[in-house]
Amino acid sequence: MSTRQFGARVQRNEDQRLVTGKGRYVDDIPLTGALHGAFVRSSVAHARITGVDVSRALALPGVVKVYTHADLGALDVQMPLLIPHPCITHGRTQYPLARDEVFHVGQAIAFIVAEDRYIAEDAVSLVEVGYEMLPVEVDFEKAAEPGAPLVHHDVPGNIAAHLVQESGDADAAFAAADHITSIKVRVDRSTAAPMECLATAARWDEVTGELTVWDGTQAPIGLRGALASLFELDEHRVRVIAPDVGGGFGPKIHFPYANEVLVPLASMELRRPVKWIEDRSENFVHMTHERGQIHEIELAATSDGTVLGLRNRFLHDTGAFIPYGIAVAQVAACQIAGPYRIPNVRVEFSCVYTPTVPVTPYRGCGRPQANFAIERAMDQLAEELGIDRFELRRRNFIQPEEFPYTRPNLIFADGLAVTHDSGEYEKALTALTDALDLAAFAKEQREAWAQGRYLGLGVSFYVEGTGLGPYEGGHVRIHPITGKIFVNTGLTTQGQGHETVFAQIVADQLGARVEDIIVVEGDTGVYDWGVATFASRAAVVSGSAIHKAAVLARKQVINAAANMLEADPDDIELADGRAFVVGSGTAGVTLAEVATASNPLRYAFNKAAQSATQFAPAARSDGPSLGEGAHPGIEATDYYSPPHATWAYGVHGAIVEVDPATYGIKIHRYVCVHDCGNMINPMIVEGQIAGGVAQGMGGAFYEKLDYDEDGTLRNASFMDFLIPYATEIPHVEMIHQETPSPLNPLGIKGVGEAGTIPVAQVIVSAIEDALKPLDLPPFRMTPLSPSLIHSHIAESGNRG
């Protein structure tokens, strides 16, 4: 009897190859005779290009080709604006290679193809680019002011898009309020910094006319569509494969990057495989960024702390282009009311061009900013009304009986109104306060303060719309010879363990071992219906689709086995890779035998196949071997298209100590209560959360991209852009709460981004709480490094 795999802490199918050095990332694909590419990138933020001299580079032995925009022919076009929206009045996207103007440091100007990467990089330094400098304003708040230098000469005010959404009647709520709280917060720009930078390899097959592209992408099907369009190739002649990908975290959803156009082009023109592997320093100025937002937020409340209305205006820094549309700003806008009922919400944002790397989603996608804004405001409101900050939150939670809770007219990234589907918010908060033991902490804090130690407690409650549509597909097939189960979906994995969690889902339906289920995804040559990996959606959307396909395959197995065993289908049970009559004590038939018998054969290519050939007694039939509408083998495909996003949530709390001399922060405890619905594999869920919290810690403390006023990125390396090491990350205590989502058959909600979202507010509010004796003005920005704490205290003139 098999035990249920859904919900079990199953070790990962992918790990054996990854721990033995047999992973296959793009740069590991052996391509005989491959050429190597390198980009010449802009060293200035904004300039007209007066000339590009490639002659010295071309003369270098080993250089095969140097591309500038003039060599691109029909590809010298603006890249697509991937997610159009009516509010984008001035959408500007990049060209594969800059034409006569550059818009940010790092923009690709020329592409060199050489016999090896050493030569290609030598040649980069031989290309001379003439610039006529144009004025820049890097600070996006100033860039939105009248008279600021323009990024695009024909975009007035640097405003790419502007959107106002209103749910209820915010002004009426403010008119009726006893109290109004108003704050302004800033979240700085950051980068995902996956351990594997971007990477593309391509091979053009002269014989078949097929282009194969290996790419570290989160969206192989989307990229295939873009390449088929750009190169005017039939879809089946373009195969995009995302092999093992060394972390994604969002920016690998964007396409096509310059490399995704130039590498395929060079392989087709030069008739040789071509590979380009981004190095770390160019990753900082090429791969898309996120996070820069400034929020003004107002809460209208009654004197007992009921929040009646919320008004939010924010600026979103979109960088030099807006290729991914308003996604980040829109997601922020839709999460601004958090877990709170707040029936009247008006949210308005502008997307501002700056001469910097373009902005697309990074783990959290606008939610960390929105969370920081609403939770800072709730803390402020509690302070002003003299209500305990936990109690204030409690009074405003959407209650379990109020679900589904819709915010009419607040349209989410899936084009549908925000609808929180389920949850127990108050229970989660109580779990946190119990774990942190607020009474004991209050005593400890008083004692610490008395000794001149600064101990504080921080809290943040987040919600996350996950599992967005439009849809994903699942394909399940039993291999007739090996009996293993081959499972496909269209999206990709960058470390989230899809090969295991999807296998667990299928294992339960087909009674097979998880290790006998082979999940292949991210290869358009294998399966090419679907969307991509983003918005914590893979488990929800692909998981549900695969589940539905597996249910269909299960029916096929049961019917076929009942036929073979001459039994009633209701009496067939599937377990341990076999189908048998329940309670019979007989072994029944293996899944391989069932799959083989379901495929009428002419040739007995192995022993098992004999029984399916046309003269074998078991396969004799009076009519056609396959009935009308039947298909051979055990194989099923199904799709899942969510009615709307499913809303995960959670609350994090921390106890921190601030060193009064250095302002160094020590995290004594970090507790996370979260609810992602039913967990497929708690071990993997915990891994996602721990990793998310670590990225959130980086964002809370150090991960700020530091542009100087000329638009040069000052910390474009791992030496200068600090990301956390093991010594910086605390142990994270986790409390799981499982409220099944009513929207999908498995009751799943997404968890990929959850860990990251609330961390900045947790840390900043904890620091603020710790430093209360200093009577400081509140903290309104993140990251918050020790030096910024120091400046904040110095500016306030207060010193403990």
């Binding site: 070790q11 990962r12 992918e14 790990d15 054996q16 990854l18 721990v19 033995t20 050095g21 047999k22 992973g23 296959r24 990332y25 740069d27 590991d28 052996p30 990467r117 050493y118 910094a193 996956p194 351990m195 594997e196 093992d244 990908v245 060394g246 972390g247 994604g248 975290f249 190095d279 770390r280 320093s281 960058q494 470390g495 989230q496 363990g497 071990m683 993997i684 915990e686 891994g687 959360i689 721990a690 990793g691 998310g692 919290v693 670590a694 990225q695 390396s717 791992f718 030496m719 990301i723 090491y725 093991a726 010594t727 990350i729 142990h731 994270v732 860990g755």
Partner: protein
Amino acid sequence: MSEVTVFEPDEPVVVEVEVNGEPVTAEVPSRMLLSDFLRQRLGLTGTHVGCEHGVCGACTVHIDGRPARSCLTLVAQTDGRSVRTVEGLACADGTLHPVQRAFKECHALQCGFCTPGFMMAVAGLLDERDDLATADDETIREEISGNVCRCTGYMNIVSAVKRAAELSNERG
């Protein structure tokens, strides 16, 4: 008095090096990095390059038994030495090294890109210290603070270090 050394980046040098127990003799350009040599010439692509300047530790291998950054090492520097990569971590019969077992058991990897370098660093640590099975978290975190992992948040790597130490002690 001064002596000027002219660096000829492409001047060929002959290197004799033992890689995962096998002798290798190769002529390489003098500027070739060990990481590129392992990956491109020997096809040992398990060693990954994460930052190209010695900060992240993804490219860690053992040189003469001690962890080293292969992205900061010229092949020429390994002449006469032995190099061990992740491909040489398991026994010849495929039995996994305690570090490999522990990383699997403890879910100490997600995308797997930093993992080979991380495991080589931990394997080196286990050779140096035999008290890690009972060490506190802070000690372990300090010891592994030369490697970056962007996926796991390190918690499970800390557990894996302890587990690997236990398995090593059992193995003796």
